[in-house]
């Protein structure tokens, strides 16, 4: 047996936009054990429920993350609405679903760009982010915000989208779909990308399931968990099937995200065609008294907002279980046995969002 050495990976590393630390135990160039450390930027946002009324807290819930911000606010408000027994107008549910899928599109394009950058494929990185701008432009035009949208509220949404704008978005998505085919063609079929991703960072379906993997990390290993299937928002009225790959390697996780973008476009198109007329919000009185685990499918996987209220304006507890947090144990497993040079690429394939994990 070779002598073991431990080297640090992170918290500052060129492929990591946020601080995550891994102690990598190596034998020669092979990783034999990994100890993860987070907690460098823990913000304690959940604690703010003691100081902010449940209606104000939507703004804080949305700021847990700068990428999947909209879905955080959506998950939070749907938990409150469930406890209070509110029947949110159907048009608001469709609008939430449209904005949620736009969030998924821009998150996946951001990830594909970062992933291309980690492989040294600069032109692919720039093309991914160029396409992402179209999504952000539509988000800004319809909500007023590119990163933080601020449109979700308890009882509905703050803004409506005019029919003309919905038609314009539909046309824009058609053009984008064409360009996405060109982009994903490189990710999925270019030999240099395939050589870099095939067969490394393997996660078995059993490990993915019992270690708590969610999102593309689970679906890349053949686990068809997608909370959108539970029918929250307008998903109950939309035809949709989760994207699943079975190889469990870096390529499979990349393929899930690449193909999911087309699924998101299809969902948005269905929503635009089916969205009913009517109000987008309702009057809300009182305060939540009860508890609920509100779930949604973020770009990185299942997110859970546990909400507990006692009939007062301030909640007793708001706890968020983010997808990155639960994807840390699977990350440890899929790094074991890999080569040191593959670590940055493998780490990126869980799409780590430390901002979420350090809520």
């Amino acid at each position: 047996m070779s002598k073991q050495i431990t080297i640090p990976f992170g918290p500052q590393h060129p492929v990591l936009p946020e601080p995550l630390h891994l102690d990598l135990v190596l034998e020669d160039e092979k990783v034999v054990d990994v100890v993860p450390t987070i907690g460098y930027v823990h913000r304690g946002l959940e604690k703010l429920v003691e100081k902010r009324e449940y209606t104000e807290y939507v703004y804080i819930a949305e700021r847990i993350c700068g990428i999947c911000s909209f879905i955080h606010s959506q998950t939070y408000v749907q938990g409150i609405e469930q406890i209070m027994g509110l029947e949110v107008p159907e048009r608001a549910q469709f609008l939430r679903t449209i904005w949620g899928e736009y969030s998924r599109l821009h998150s996946h394009l951001l990830w594909l760009g970062c992933f291309a950058d980690s492989m040294g494929f600069e032109s692919l990185f720039m093309n991914s982010w160029r396409l992402r701008e179209h999504i952000l432009d539509d988000l800004e035009a319809t909500t007023g915000g590119r990163v933080i949208q601020g449109v979700c509220k308890v009882g509905g949404v703050r803004k409506d989208i005019a029919p003309e704008k919905l038609d314009e978005m539909l046309k824009g998505l058609k053009g984008l779909e064409h360009e996405l085919h060109d982009l994903t063609n490189v990710f999925l079929h270019d030999s240099s990308v395939k050589n870099r991703l095939r067969g490394i960072g393997k996660l078995s379906s059993e490990d993915a399931y019992y270690l708590g993997a969610v999102g593309p990390t689970a679906r890349g290993s053949g686990i068809a968990i997608d909370i959108r299937e539970t029918g929250y928002g307008a998903f109950g009225k939309i035809n949709f099937k989760p994207v699943v790959e079975h190889d469990g390697d870096c390529y499979a996780r990349c393929a899930v995200r690449a193909n999911e973008m087309f699924g998101s476009i299809d969902i948005i198109e269905q929503c635009i065609k089916k969205i009913p007329d009517g109000p987008v919000d309702m009057k809300v009185t009182g305060a939540p008294d009860g508890e609920y685990f509100s779930r949604a499918e973020q770009p990185r996987g299942e997110v859970i907002h546990y909400i507990k209220g006692n009939g007062k304006k301030n909640l007793v507890r708001h706890r968020v279980r983010t997808p990155t947090f639960t994807n840390i144990p699977p990350l440890v497993t899929l790094l074991k046995g890999c080569e040191l040079a593959d670590v940055p690429v493998i780490v990126l394939t869980i799409d780590p969002c430390i901002g979420c994990a350090e809520r």
Binding site: V35, T37, I38, G39, Y40, H42, G44, E46, K47, E50, K51, Q78, Q82, G85, E87, Y209, Y210, L211, G212, I227, E229, T230, Y232, E291, Y292, F293, S294, E302, I304, Y306, K308, V316, R317, R319, R321, F325, T326, I328, P329, P330
Partner: protein, 125 residues
């Protein structure tokens, strides 16, 4: 509306057997979370199978010791270290025990105390 949920109260001694049974029945661990209610701490274990949640709640004091389920669900260590670092509850037998260094916080066990506005340094600037 989404489906209703129930949380089943259990004793501390039932935590590991319930986890073993959940795994045997094909459930995945979704999360473990803690809530401070006056002087008590409620810890909820959540499992999922086919989008159906089962939830178990134990209620303990801060100086109580609770058993780790990381021997059943290996990934439970992230939740158990979090509960220790934020609430100060000792979890016995965690497979990767960070011994209080999982989160680096200025205040020790910050979620075990209620900070009033007068005591909040940020509010008094």
């Amino acid at each position: 509306m989404m489906e209703p949920q129930t949380i089943v109260p259990i004793s501390v001694g039932e935590v590991v057997p319930k986890a073993e049974q959940a795994k045997k029945d094909g459930y995945r661990l979704v999360q473990i979370g803690c809530t401070k209610i006056e002087d008590n701490f409620e810890i909820i274990y959540v499992y999922d199978k086919d989008y159906k949640l089962i939830n178990f709640r134990i209620t303990v004091k801060q100086d109580d010791e609770i058993p780790s389920i990381s021997g059943v669900y290996w990934g439970a260590f992230v939740y158990e270290n979090e509960i220790h670092d934020l609430y100060g509850i000792h979890v016995a037998g965690i497979n990767i025990d960070f011994k209080g260094t999982f989160y680096k916080t200025t205040v020790k066990h910050p979620f075990s105390v209620t900070i009033t506005k007068e005591d909040d340094a940020c509010q008094n600037r």
